[in-house]
């Protein structure tokens, strides 16, 4: 019979070795796939941005023209959020706000909101969520037409109490068996729209020469530079 201490040691080494080998294989795979995964994510982002600006004519590179905003009144649950700006011949035409609805049924819901310069929503897409399959996932454009009910809405043609699901007295449908999910999305879209309307001029002004001594603009310009460095890294 083998000595028990030796046997325990043997088993320990065996486990440690397996863990090492497993981690090694994972690390190698991760190393070789990470660039491709990044690129895939970028492609998905481009497609997402394009899909929420269906009838908007623009000629700039959306991914490059991005700012990050913070501040207490910004919508969404994330610390800072990215806004991509669409311009046509230098004139601002629309923006895509990437927001997060914190109060989904099973965790946060990531949403893209395309808003034209005049405050009319051009499109909304849910890009990531963990809502119940078959119930809450009807917020996806592939599964139902629900997200298209935001198209053409603005704060002018839809009053604040109407920015709710029908059950709460608003104009947006809820789903059978799922009210929390659409409620969270409607709220997040509305918050983004409000934020956009309140800060529209500053949001688009950032790229222009920060000649004015406006504090707010300087701050945003700095954030924008930071963002660009980050974007370039990603592209590389």
């Amino acid at each position: 019979m083998a000595n028990p201490a030796r046997s325990i040691l043997h088993v320990g080494f065996l486990l440690a070795f397996s863990a090492l080998a497993g981690t090694g294989v994972m690390a190698i795979t991760h190393y070789h796939t990470k660039d491709r995964i990044e690129e895939n994510k970028r492609q998905v982002l481009i497609r997402g941005l394009t899909s929420v600006l269906p009838n908007v004519k623009y000629d700039n590179d959306l991914i490059e023209d991005r700012i990050t905003v913070g501040g207490p009144d910004k919508p969404g649950a994330n610390k800072s959020l990215s806004i991509y700006r669409a311009r046509y011949q230098g004139e601002p035409v629309a923006a895509v706000v990437t927001t997060i609805a914190p109060d989904g049924y099973s965790g946060p819901i990531r949403i893209l909101v395309g808003i034209q310069y005049n405050g009319v929503i051009s499109g909304v897409r849910v890009v990531e969520h963990r809502e119940t399959p078959g119930l809450g996932d009807a917020i996806e454009a592939e599964r139902s037409g629900w997200v298209f009910s935001f198209d053409g809405r603005s704060r002018q043609n839809t009053s604040p109490p109407q920015w709710q699901v029908k059950k709460d007295g608003g104009v947006f449908d809820q789903f059978t068996g799922a009210t929390i999910t659409p409620r969270a999305v409607v709220k997040a879209v509305h918050n983004s729209l409000q934020y956009f309307e309140m800060h529209r001029e500053e949001l688009f002004a950032v790229m222009e020469n920060a000649g004015t001594a406006d504090n707010q603009q300087k701050k945003s310009a700095a954030a924008s530079d930071e963002m660009h460095a980050e974007t370039k890294q990603q592209v590389k």
Partner: protein, 234 residues
């Protein structure tokens, strides 16, 4: 010596993991709202089964019985993570559809079950074959259940096929009924239980019928019972 024929028959029919062993039911129920989702997860699971079976069979002589389970878990977790990363890189659209369920293959009891019951005792090539056919058996059930639920729930089969096979496959969608409101229950979780129950019952009915036929041939003077559901014939 395990014959290839037994491995095939066991994997696809006699010991079908979803219909007989009733393992891996969590992903089975969760993703089968459509046929394509079922097919995709089934194929991913098959790859995991083949790889884990191969690795376990390779190192079977170095396993210590006290720690074999943690080692299986380590192997399975590594293989699933690698497959998840590869899918994320090369089949990104599909990866996005299946979401968390690719990672959850780790928790599919079929995988650890085959490692323990088969791969840790058999040769590498038999284990690979076992992984392949157990996986195929599982995939067929996922596909059938998905098609069944999708037909009732959406009135189509193979919707969103383009996610898996590219844009060219979007014509694969078979529309059974136009202007169909959909039977919501079928795509909700209870629909999964009912659909699976129907499949299990169908398999049992077929088994019983085969059993009867064999008995009838062996003992010709026993009157043949026409009711194929009679359980006491066993």
């Amino acid at each position: 010596m395990t014959s290839v024929k037994t491995i095939v028959y066991d994997g696809l029919w006699k010991n079908n993991q979803a219909l007989v062993a009733l393992l891996g039911l969590c992903p089975l129920m969760a993703v089968t709202a459509t046929a394509i989702n079922g097919l995709a997860l089934g194929i991913a699971t098959t790859f995991v089964l083949i790889l884990t079976n191969a690795v376990v069979a390779l190192i079977r002589n170095h396993l210590k019985s006290e720690v074999r389970i943690p080692m299986f878990v380590l192997i399975i977790a590594s293989v699933v993570t690698v497959i998840e990363l590869l899918m994320n890189a090369y089949l990104h659209e599909l990866y996005r559809v299946l979401g968390i369920f690719v990672a959850l293959i780790v928790t599919n009891c079929t995988v650890i079950g085959r490692a323990e019951a088969f791969a840790s005792k058999r040769s590498v090539h038999h284990s690979i074959l076992d992984g392949l056919f157990i996986g195929l058996g599982f995939t067929i059930v996922l596909l059938l259940l998905g098609a069944f639920r999708e037909a009732l729930g959406y009135g189509t089969i193979f919707r969103q096929a383009e996610l898996m096979f590219g844009e060219a496959a979007s014509h694969m969608v078979i529309t059974l009924a136009d202007d169909f409101d959909g039977f919501l229950l079928a795509i909700l979780p209870p629909g999964a239980f009912m659909g699976l129950a129907v499949l299990i019952a169908a398999k049992k009915a077929i088994d019983t019928r085969i059993h009867h036929r064999q008995r009838t041939i062996k003992v010709p003077n026993v009157q043949r019972v026409t009711d194929s559901n009679a359980p006491d014939m066993l």
